[in-house]
Subunit: 402 residues, 2 copies
């Protein structure tokens, strides 16, 4: 384990932003000499760079150092019913490459979908190399239940896939030099929301809504995966036992009352243009917002009821988990301003802890890139855990004393 403190310094720069060597030393309980040596090593690895001066009142000003994303990238990928997508992020969180391909996974063979995804990953990898950077790993988000011990997509209700070894299949197609892992799509979206270093984003509950509902729990900055990796399946918590039948076969799942379909059913008749199958999701949501802004009673009632159901479930989960924030992602984010009041009401009413345990209701700003961003973030964790794994700078003086 070569120098755990090296990783410590790197993470501190990620979490706290640019700062001087002296500040790093005091914050991490190291001596200035040790901090200096570690920063020097990280510079040689091409992971940090100088970032101007840090003026601190009295005494000599410090020379700040900051993350330098220049040498490595993590790739996040996603396979969903309607599209496959990839993104490449460098250490500093900058987007280096991004690709997206619309498709209908239900009309294609499994192998074909994986072919397309592999092609996208290859293009992303080429972009990364063209930018003079190195890929350190790829994490693929899949919409479905993943048995993490066996790297198997046990069941993907929306994809209609069963027992697909996505990781092995993709590794075979890519023949990549870097590790390829799989993870639940909603869990990755949750990781993307957990900004490192922000104390208000270390214990969060992410609820991701589309036709189905998923989510993820981040506790203490780390994803909660559960025993077999099935954690975060909020959509199938039974909240309305006498209610409607869910696609999963059960009755009254949360997604039957808070999924996209429930909103559309409540807000529009079957012949309403809102129900036109050719209408894109973004356009539907824009139309719902428009009607609500105009004060349309039926739309407002539908949104209010949706907020009530979300708030009810969120209150239960908040009693159990006491998150700092509940982040609503997916289609909820677009109509957030009309949902917030009823959600917050239910949260205040349904949570035992005073002021709902301090839990805030927030809406994601990541749009539909959340999952791939989370994937890239997880891939980059390898570097934050062991910076020496990053390829050394070729242009640096090797072994030089300065």
């Amino acid at each position: 384990m070569p120098s755990a403190n090296l990783a410590l310094v790197l993470r501190q720069l990620r979490d706290g932003g640019p700062r001087s060597r002296a500040r790093l030393a005091t914050e991490l309980g190291l001596t200035r000499s040790a901090a200096s040596a570690l920063v020097g090593e990280l510079e040689d690895l091409g992971l940090v760079r100088a970032a101007g001066v840090e003026r601190g009142g009295l005494g000599r000003p410090g020379t700040a150092v900051e993350l330098d994303g220049g040498s490595v990238c993590g790739i996040g990928a996603e396979v969903n019913v309607n599209h496959v997508a990839t993104i490449a992020l460098d250490l500093a969180g900058n987007v280096v490459a991004e690709h997206r391909l619309a498709l209908d996974a239900n009309r294609l063979a499994v192998a074909e979908v994986l072919d397309r995804l592999a092609e996208l990953v290859r293009r992303t990898e080429a972009d990364v190399r063209a930018a003079g950077r190195e890929v350190v790993g790829c994490v693929v988000g899949v919409a479905g239940l993943l048995d993490r011990t066996h790297e198997l997509l046990t069941v993907g209700p929306n994809l209609r896939w069963t027992d697909v070894p996505v990781g092995a299949e993709l590794r075979g197609r890519l023949g990549a030099a870097y590790p390829v892992r799989i993870e639940n799509e909603s869990n990755l979206a949750a990781i993307a929301e957990a900004t490192p270093g922000d104390p208000g984003r270390q214990d969060i509950l992410v609820i991701f809504g589309e036709v189905g509902m998923g989510g993820g729990i981040v506790a203490g900055g780390r994803l909660l995966r559960g025993h077999q990796g099935y954690a975060g399946e909020f959509g199938h918590m039974i909240v309305d036992p006498g209610g409607r039948r869910c696609g999963c076969g059960r009755v009254g799942c949360w997604e039957t009352v808070a999924g996209l379909r429930a909103l559309l059913d409540a807000a529009a008749d079957p012949d309403d243009p809102l129900r036109d199958p050719d209408l894109a999701l973004d356009d539907r949501l824009a139309e719902i917002n428009r009607r609500a802004d105009l004060g349309d009673a039926r739309t407002l009632a539908a949104l209010d009821q949706l907020g009530n159901w979300i708030g009810m479930g969120a209150a239960m989960l908040t009693n159990a988990l006491n998150p700092a924030a509940i982040v609503l992602s997916g289609y909820y984010a677009a109509i957030g301003r009309h949902l917030r009041p009823s959600i917050e009401d239910h949260l205040l009413a349904g949570v035992l802890a005073p002021h709902a345990g301090g839990t805030r209701v927030e809406f994601s700003t990541l749009g539909f890139t959340a999952a791939v961003r989370g994937g890239a973030t997880v891939a980059l964790d390898a570097v934050f855990d062991d910076p020496t794994a990053a390829p050394a700078r070729t242009d640096a003086l090797t072994g030089g004393t300065r």
Copy 2:
């Protein structure tokens, strides 16, 4: 941070039981010489001792080492409505001292309850010293909402306490040389169930039932506390919106249908001897078991309904958290054999993941010592995190080469 590997070796011995130096080395990725040196250091600290030979087929047999609880103890304490209690555990988990005092916290002033608890802790401490051991810390479980950042009991509905700084009050009374911390009682009970080293007890959900309901979540072997420390308040998840009013003021909280009162209401008329206020809890539960064993229809129906409600809530939490096991503690444990079928039915029916995500239903065997045991365990964590904090053996050759 003096030798992180020292702690690593100690924890490996706790989690995996007695084993040879060579096994420790290979399991932890150390060399045999390093493992030997570390074990020697732990022996000097009085934390481990020889434990016979370990025969491994071919070659020279190893000399196993094991935890030696001989030098240090952690104290767990508890303040509840009906009693205060303490326990002292050594490193190996042996009970060194145990005290319990029945009282009615509602009829006593806050200061008086704390006086009694402090007295109990002092007696426990004296017992520990009399056994030739040293106290390394004390963790107090309190039934109520604890704001962890401020070490404050925000509100204890059953104790009827508000904004009591339990930690500071107790420190003042004890003037102890060791750290005194507070923690939610149910959370401590959860920690006590999470056996270190047992993979089936690293991700668990503990549901603790008495008149109220509480619980705790252990994820990856670590207690999930949430943003402010309010996690695990399962009892006030609203599962029956049209149901009965709860003591907390809300309607339909889980504990209104799965708390002890709900069971008694369903199983016995007001004039039933089961409702005699002088009857101890243990006796009530024994009587319920007796009637159920005899096939009493009303009792069986009440137990079945209770199991249904528990199973329903457990299924929701299992969808969210995917625990390896749901451990039912408190009064549920005593009547477990009559609850299991209906709980398991609901779990299988209500959880999305196949086979309910592999989640088992288990019943606690710790009785009402769970919370204090958890407290002592947390206190001992200080030693497992930094073994050098333990007092060195006075009878050991200091600095000797052997």
